[in-house]
Every structure is written in C-alpha cells, then in structure tokens.
C-alpha cells in the first residue's frame, strides 16, 4: 500500500499544455493527444506535486489525504506524473495503485479523446466507408461504401 507520507511523483510538465481555469485545470497531453479536465484534489496535486511533497503535505490543501492519494494515482494512470523521477520501490507501489484509481467512483480527472478530423465528420461522402457514418444526401450505403442511389 502507498503510505500517506510517501512522496508524490512530480507532475509532468513536458509536452503537456495547460489552461488554468481557477477551480479546474484543462490539460492537453501532446504524447497521447488526450485532453483532461482536472478538478478538486487533482488540481491541488497537479499544481503542487514537485517530487518532494507527500500526500500529508497536500492534505491541508485538498482537505483529505486519501483523496489526494487517489487523485495522484489517477494522474499517474494518465501518465501525467513523472514516475521515473521516483525511486524504483516507490514506482512499483504507485503502479500497483493505478488500477484502483481507474475505478474511482468520483474521478478527479475527466478525459474524452480529442477527435481526428475523420472522427469529427458527420456523414460519409461518395466512395467513403459508411460502416460507422451515414451517407451524404443522394448516396446510400452499399457493401460498406457510399454509392449513388
């Protein structure tokens, strides 16, 4: 188990674009191309995890030690903490906690995928695959491809 006195790995700042919204933080991970909304304890951990602070240190800021630990594990599961920056034994303990964070009832991080242009399209045009999108006007889906009606 992770002790509350264990150091929380530092927040990853490289290749992460951040928009600070006050109570929330919007983060875009340029490695995974995923956008995250950090809220509550995840914001506190994100702002103050410097590789030195522990959950006990952050407890005063987030109000609840377990919440800070869970939020840190959530951030770790999303590759938003630098696990490489902590020593090997601690890293193993963090990695063991990650699956628990993923099943958190009230996640402190919300993550939809940023769409690709193709995913963002509303309907398929002539000759395009129509297995997941409807065909444009005047076309019908024939054998998985949009063809003239």
């Amino acid at each position: 188990m992770l002790g509350e006195s264990m150091t929380i790995p530092p927040a990853r700042r490289s290749e992460v674009l951040v928009e600070d919204l006050g109570d929330e933080v919007l983060a875009y991970d340029q490695r995974s191309h995923r956008a995250h909304r950090l809220k509550g304890p995840a914001v506190v951990v994100w702002r103050h995890a410097d590789g030195v602070a522990t959950a006990v240190d952050l407890a005063g800021r987030s109000g609840l030690r377990p919440a800070a630990l869970t939020a840190a594990a959530e951030l770790a599961s999303l590759d938003l903490l630098e696990l490489d920056a902590v020593e090997k034994t601690s890293r193993r303990k963090w990695l063991r906690r990650v699956p628990l964070a993923a099943s958190a009832a009230l996640p402190a991080v919300v993550t939809p995928l940023a769409p690709t242009p193709a995913e963002a399209a509303s309907s398929a045009s002539l000759g395009q695959n129509c297995s997941t999108l409807p065909c444009c006007s005047g076309l019908s889906c024939q054998l998985g491809v949009c063809m003239p009606i």
Partner: protein, 191 residues
Amino acid sequence: LDVVLEALARDLQHAIAQTAEGCLFVHAGAVAWNGRAVVIPGASGSGKSTLVHALLNAGAQYLSDEYAAIDSRRLVHAFARPLQLRASSRGSQRTISTSDLPVSASPLPLGALVVTRYRDGAAWQPRTLTHGEAALGVVANTLRARELPGATLQTAAIATARAPCLASDRGDVAVSLPGLVATLTQCLGNP
C-alpha cells in the same frame, strides 16, 4: 452529377474547416438567438441537425448544422451549408437549401453552449456546466485539436468563460424542444 457536386462541396467545406486561420472549427450545430450564438457541440449521429432545424422553426436564425467557427474574440461565424436532415434510420438524408433558411450572416458573440445527447424518453433537465466541463466539451469536438492543441485550449477556455453553458439529455425533439426554447429564452431573451 448532383451527387458528384455534392461530394465536392462537402470535401471543400471540410478542407476549409481544416485549413482556415484565426478560427476554431468545432463540430457543432449553431443558431443565432436574439443576437447571440447558441452552439451545440456533438459527434456524428447526435442529432444536431434535427435540433438546429427545430430551433429554426422556433424563431432562431441559421449559422450551421456542421461547424461553429469560433474566433479568439468569442465571436461565432456562420458556416451555412444546406441543412442535412436524416430522413430514415437507413441513413438517407433530406436536404434544405440555404436559400430556404433564415441565415444569420454576421459574426455573433457566443451566447450559450448546449451539450446534449439523445436518450430515449429523456426529459429536458438542464444543469449548468462548470467552466472546465464546457471548455472540454468544445475541445473534444474541435476539428484541429490534435494539430493545434494550444490554440484549441485557449480559444475553448475564452469562448466558454462568460456564456451560460448547459447540459441535458433529451428525448424526441418534439418533446424536448419546448424545454430547450424556454431555457434559451430565459438565458438570452426571445429569439
């Protein structure tokens, strides 16, 4: 020939959306309501076009059924194209020409962001989104989010900072429309 021209027009629209400078193209339906823009982000099949059509019948003006083009000053630009309505569950569509639609030509400040999805039998029960939820709703539907993540985050945050941002599941459009119209009227006044 009509089919080919329509495919060409669609490809051109997509190319414009992917290359335009100075605007964030968000996959969304958009209408003008009392001088402000209502943006309804949503993925394919989420019923944006049907909702836009219903809002036009309720007095709104047309901006787009596909893209809301938002600039860094929170202005939403029209991207009016023929309104594509799904006519059957097999994917065929009905098209309404822009000449038959009340198009709003000038850019409008974002008045409201409405995140909604169809759920069978759902009643219109809007809740206010946090700034982060609203901004993330924009980012998740932005066409060039992967290519321009910094500009996407920044514009999404600015655009959603002051406008009311709401979310609700909705059932059949005929059932949900009165609630949505009442919400927009309460936030923005009459259309």
